[in-house]
């Protein structure tokens, strides 16, 4: 068996096993919405409000359900302590890989912390509940709402194998 036959065999195997190499198609859209919510708990409650920018890159990949890469930009979200009036900031972005569907309801979370030199050591967790509506045909984000609240206490994890 000479080298060319080896190579031919290899290429044949690769082609047989390969997913059809069709080109993907992409769509990009953004949507701005406002969020307001409250984090309840010690050392103080925190009220947050402001714009949240959602950027979505949709990738139509033949043979698979399309991905929507959702970037949640919370850089302009303003938070303030109810008791001390301390300003709180957050880490700015959350990036999620999601599947494109007409409506996508999901959650992520961000860290909210005092805008002080050691504030990042005293961060609180904020749950962002997202409801995203798409034009599935074009992949465009049509509507979005974001709610901010405390993260929920979690139960003991499932120890399944």
């Amino acid at each position: 068996m000479n080298a060319d036959i080896f190579r031919l065999f290899g290429l044949t195997v690769a082609l047989l096993l390969a997913v059809p190499a069709a080109r993907a198609q992409e769509a990009e859209s953004t949507f701005k919405t406002r969020v307001s919510g409250k984090l309840v708990g010690a050392p103080e409650d925190i009220k947050c409000s402001g714009p949240v920018k959602l950027s979505v890159m949709v990738q139509n990949d033949p043979g698979k359900q399309a991905n929507a890469i959702v970037t949640v930009d919370t850089q302009d979200l303003k938070c303030r302590g109810v008791r001390t009036r301390t300003a709180y900031v957050n880490s700015g972005h959350a990036i999620l890989t999601r599947l494109l569907s007409s409506t996508d309801v999901t959650e992520t979370s961000i860290a909210v912390y005092p805008d002080t030199s050691d504030g990042h050591l005293n961060a609180r967790s904020a749950l962002l509940s997202l409801k995203l509506s798409y034009d599935v045909a074009t992949g465009a984000l049509r509507d979005a709402s974001v709610a901010l609240s405390n993260t929920r206490p979690t139960r003991s994890p499932n120890h399944k194998l």
Binding site: R7, A18, A66, S109, A111, H120, L127, T151, P157, N158
Partner: protein, 700 residues
């Protein structure tokens, strides 16, 4: 006799044909699984196989072992002594390797592959390892006492198992550094060059690979600022019974042009008495968390999966590994304080990798899949779903995604914050506090700090993976934490994979810090050139030599319109020394590619065309650029100090092997297209050189 003839052929015919031999051998091992799941091969995890049998083993029933420290020996212990040029002393070659005679060192001979700066940076520490098949570890050194290693007694033999209740791994299935687990850790510091001597003690018979992997190896120190002869070039592999001397000078980038007098107190390294000594170079280029792994052409995925991966902690005056020293430079990150530097008490390496095993419990890999391989078991430091005991204080975790094709998105089970302090081995300009880390791509490293003082003794909290895969091409989706904890995913690797047990208060107060400012980025001035790399499927092979790969994945360079298969004989780019360039990496498909550029760190300027898309955790220096489906990254990068033949490739190592990789060259002597660097052609009988078989018109 048949296998020996096959092996002798493999030694002579080069990596691609060897790959086919391995493929044929391995096919018999996976064909059963393929037949069983033929109708749903692309939705099956492990990829194309059957679920790994667990022999009654439950999650979180074994402690997570800390890495195994490699001894730092005097250079005088090396025999023969290391030399600037490759040691070409002849030895008899095994008949299985073609017989005759060949050099004892596999490094290419002559001045072109001589250690650069060997006289200026003579090795001061020797690290000597043997890459070989699995065996029990009788010299485990975690670098910490048992109470900081979940009670593991290092004096007991550490068997080559993924769990005490699982079978011992065959020496043909698992190949690691020194043949043992846990994975190995090298400790180094700036200004103290290391000679890393690696012996290849893998089977001489290429067929003795347990169905996957190849016995020729090349180890990449990812992402060392070293000369190319020490970079683990994919085509500079060496054979069983040979060694290769890698010289890691451990210098700050820019040492030839910045702070050449070594006067800056931040450009320094820890001494053994609690002080520091200064070194040349730009302290903004200080690096911290590296890893090293096999980079064999067309076989990186298989060899790394078998276990050829370790980590390398680099210490500096800034990142001292001592949290108690107050000198205005030391960042005092969580570590410990008993030693002057490199305390590991509260500085923990975590290597994540998904694995699978066959009906006998032996490591299993599907070499027929070219989209990417996924295992169904998450291992941490090669231990299946372990627990780790912690004290109520801050810990630093150096997280490495050591998987073949899997991305992880990490959260804590109670959604508590984590502080990301480094990305790809580089401390960030500022810490970034997150409750869910970004998806960590293959080969990326995220250093994080978790403060366990928020918990009570006897509490537990779990590290959770939120990223679901259906296949190895890309993540399918990120599930919510609630879904992950409820097991609402078809991907068995989604959910909890590491249990933290808060076992006690710290014996002394936690004095570690996470400063607001870590390491600001180095200044990259005006760029002289732009280059464009598009990563895509549908690649074509335009060359046919022994240096050429084959596969559907490839790279289109500088708008040529042709997506090329890898060929390490082809020069695709050749920046000028000291050049600053803008490189744009674009994903032209719906898959994902974490792209690694060797040797130099880059700074992401644009993501999908805009700077506002660059998240805070990507605003430092990086060496792996995760593109995301249809995404792009534009980065600034400068080339300096060392030279030679380097690489750029997708670090989904299945994509890399099939054949999404290119070569780029750097020559300080101002070489040109008329005088390109030759390509090494290794054989057991010696390395020869051939001219590049292709030079892209835009390379120079």
């Amino acid at each position: 006799m048949q296998s020996r003839r096959t092996n002798a052929r493999a030694a002579k015919v080069g990596p691609i044909r060897s790959k086919l031999i391995s493929l044929v051998i391995g096919a018999t091992a996976v064909i059963g699984g393929l037949l069983a799941f033929a109708s749903q091969a692309y939705a099956q995890i492990p990829t194309g196989g059957v679920p790994s049998p667990m022999f009654g083993v439950q999650k979180f029933t074994q402690p997570m072992p800390r890495f195994d420290l490699l001894p730092r020996n005097p250079v005088a212990t090396l025999n023969p002594p290391p030399a600037e040029q490759s040691n070409q002393t002849q030895q008899a070659c095994d008949p299985a390797l073609g017989g005759g005679f060949g050099p004892i060192e596999g490094r290419p001979p002559g001045s072109l592959w001589a250690h650069q700066g060997f006289a200026d940076f003579p090795p001061q520490v020797a690290v000597e390892i043997s890459t070989e098949g699995a065996k029990a570890n009788t010299s485990y050194n975690p670098g910490v006492p048992p109470q900081l290693n979940s009670g593991i007694d290092p004096t007991l033999p550490f068997p080559a198992k993924f769990h005490p209740g699982l079978p011992v791994q065959s020496p043909l299935k698992v190949w690691t550094f020194n043949g043992t687990i846990p994975p190995k850790l090298v400790i180094g510091r700036y200004g103290e060059p290391i000679l890393f001597r690696e012996h290849n003690n893998l089977p001489v018979d290429a067929a003795q690979n347990g169905g996957f992997g190849i016995h020729t190896i090349s180890t990449h120190e990812h992402n060392g600022h070293h000369g190319a002869e020490n970079d683990g070039f994919t085509g500079a592999f060496f054979f069983p019974n040979q060694f290769y001397d890698y010289h890691w000078p451990i210098v700050l980038a820019g040492f030839r042009s910045l702070n050449t007098g070594a006067t800056d107190p931040k450009a320094a390294a820890p001494d053994d008495a609690g002080g520091t000594y200064r070194v040349a170079g730009d302290w903004h280029e200080t690096m911290s968390t590296h890893w090293f792994h096999d980079h064999m052409f067309s076989f990186t995925s298989q060899n790394v999966y078998k276990g050829m991966a370790g980590m390398f902690n680099i210490y500096s005056a800034l990142d001292r590994g001592n949290e108690a020293i107050v000198d205005g430079v030391n960042l005092r990150l969580p570590s410990g304080s008993a030693k002057s530097w490199a305390n590991l008490d509260y500085d923990v390496n975590l290597m994540l990798a998904d694995k699978a095993w066959d009906a006998q419990g032996q490591l299993w890999f599907n070499i027929l899949n070219t989209d990417g391989f996924l295992g169904d078991r998450v291992t941490v430091n090669m231990a299946d779903n372990p627990y780790f005991e912690v004290e109520r204080r801050k810990y630093r975790f150096r997280i490495l995604n050591g998987a073949v094709s899997r991305f992880f998105k990490i959260a804590l089970s109670d959604h508590s914050p984590m502080i990301q302090i480094a990305n790809d081995g580089n401390l960030l300009p500022k810490p970034v506090t997150l409750t869910e880390l970004d998806e960590i791509g293959i080969a990326e490293r995220y250093d994080i700090v978790i403060d366990f003082s928020r918990y009570q003794v006897n509490d537990k909290v779990w590290m959770v993976n939120l990223t679901e895969h259906l296949d190895g091409t890309r993540p399918n989706r990120d599930v919510t934490l609630a879904q992950a904890l409820a097991g609402q995913s078809t991907d068995p690797a989604v959910g909890i994979f590491l249990e933290f047990r808060i076992v006690r208060d710290p014996p002394t107060p936690d004095v570690s810090q996470v400063p607001t400012t870590l390491i600001p980025n180095p200044v990259i001035g005006g760029v002289s050139r732009r280059r464009d790399f598009k990563f895509n499927t549908g690649a074509v092979a335009t060359t046919t030599g022994s240096t050429a790969g084959a596969g559907k994945w490839g790279i289109d360079t500088d708008g040529s319109g042709v997506t090329l298969d890898a060929d390490y004989g082809r020069i695709s780019a050749a920046p000028n020394t000291n050049a600053r360039e803008l490189w744009t990496l674009t994903n032209k498909g719906g898959w994902d590619h974490p792209v690694h550029i060797h040797f130099e760190e880059g700074q992401i300027q644009l993501r999908n065309g805009t700077s506002t898309n660059v998240p805070a955790w990507e605003k430092g220096r990086k060496d792996v650029y995760r593109l995301r489906p249809a995404g792009s990254v534009t980065l600034a990068i400068q080339f300096r100090d060392w030279s030679g033949t380097f690489m750029e490739h997708c670090h989904n190592t299945v994509h890399e092997d099939n054949a999404m990789l290119l070569r780029w060259d750097l020559d300080p002597l101002g070489f040109s297209k008329l005088n390109p660097l030759p390509t090494p052609i290794p054989t057991p009988q010696g390395v020869t050189f051939v001219p590049p078989d292709d030079i892209l018109p835009t390379a120079y």
